[in-house]
């Protein structure tokens, strides 16, 4: 019997996984909205990934794999279940209205003091919108990578992203009116 040996050792796991640490933490904190829970989530993600690393196929997208583990772990956590249950399941069937068109709250965003305003608006987004917006605009993932991470088709990535941006705009506008 010939023994197939993988050139996969925990040395290379560390080399691949640790550079993603800051961004995974940032993403985890956005999902959980709590430092302690974010730390638990990241820790669990690394433990699961290390344990399952031999099943990871080299040459496929490691970043998407790590994010997928983190997100699945979050969704099955108590906070994750609560976050997804209190939000209506997002239907993908809204019209093709552009996310950018309409009045432009963007002009206020040039102002640096409005960073907090934007953060609050992102926080208020339902978790499915929040995560896709962050993966696209903060992590700068391609649609393909987002599709792999969230295990959804590319068409759904586009429509959900569009709806997330529309949701963000309307929240920004609400906040501006309150000011």
């Amino acid at each position: 019997m010939r023994v197939a040996r993988l050139d996969v050792q925990s040395d290379s796991f560390e080399e691949l996984a640790m550079p993603l640490f800051d961004q995974l933490y940032n993403f985890a904190h956005w999902l959980t909205q709590n430092r302690e829970e974010a730390e638990d989530l990241v820790q669990e993600t690394y433990a699961k990934a290390l344990k399952g690393f031999s099943s990871f196929q080299l040459g496929t997208n490691f970043r998407a794999w790590m994010y997928r583990i983190l997100r699945n772990t979050f969704l099955t956590s108590r906070t994750g279940l609560r976050a997804t249950m209190t939000v209506p399941i997002d239907s993908e069937e809204d019209g093709p209205e552009s996310a950018i068109a309409g009045a432009t709250p963007e002009t206020i965003l040039i102002d640096r003091s409005s960073e907090a305003l934007m953060q609050r608006a992102i926080e208020q987004l339902p978790v499915h919108f929040r995560e896709i917006l962050l993966l696209c605009d903060v992590e700068e993932m391609s649609y393909q990578e987002i599709a792999e991470t969230l295990s959804i088709p590319i068409g759904t990535v586009m429509s959900r992203l569009s709806r997330a941006r529309r949701g963000l705009r309307s929240r920004l506008q609400e906040q501006l009116q309150k000011r």
């Binding site: 019997m1 560390e14 940032n26 730390e39 820790q43 399952g52 996310a99 992203l161």
Partner: protein, 250 residues
Amino acid sequence: MVCESWKGKLELYLDGEMKSDEMRAFDAHVRSCPSCAADVLAGVQMKRAVQVAGKRFVPSNEFRQRVQRSVAAKPRRSVGFSWMAASAVVAIVFVVGLAAAYIGRERVRTQQVYSEVADLHVATLASSSPVDVVSSDRHTVKPWFQGKIPFTFDLPELQNSEFSLLGGRMTYLEQTPGAHLIYELRKHRISVFIFPEEGLRGRFGDSSVTKELSFSVETWSRGGLRYFAIGDAGGGDIDRLAKLFQAVNP
């Protein structure tokens, strides 16, 4: 209207998801259309604002180090050393020291592997949760290892023997992943370790039972895999378990 079809694709453009020829056509259109140019500018600003606001949370150094340690450390001898494990380690160091003084380098390496195997055996039994998969059913334990270790092996049928399977766990020996199975025989615990042969240093033949630090150890090789059976049971018991393994892994 031409603009309407472009506006529908604005997000693809902003996210860099357009094919290059379409991208060039869009660029050309934007230069001649103030309305679309304004939309592009607004979209870019919005994306930029999300990006700035989104990079918000920074992990503490202490937490980073904790995770770094957990992925850097090979998961061996991890959990709470009992006094027994600690004294075994002291004894192992002593034996290894003696061996180094008396015999050649190759022998030392071989001895180190034996010592490490003894160490793994003791440290695991001292741990509060010695096995990761708790089952006496070989059909549960064997599949559990799938995807965790880079090889496969068969477990013997124990129905008519005095041995019982307690469970298994993943382990490491010299950075090589392997399987660790724990059996029970009249309150004695016996470990069977399986590693790919090429990952181990040192020279091993197929030995009969030897004594290492008062443990009985037997080692053999089948199909590119190196097996170690170790425990405080008698040499004859260890040998019987070894024979059961050899019978199903010819």
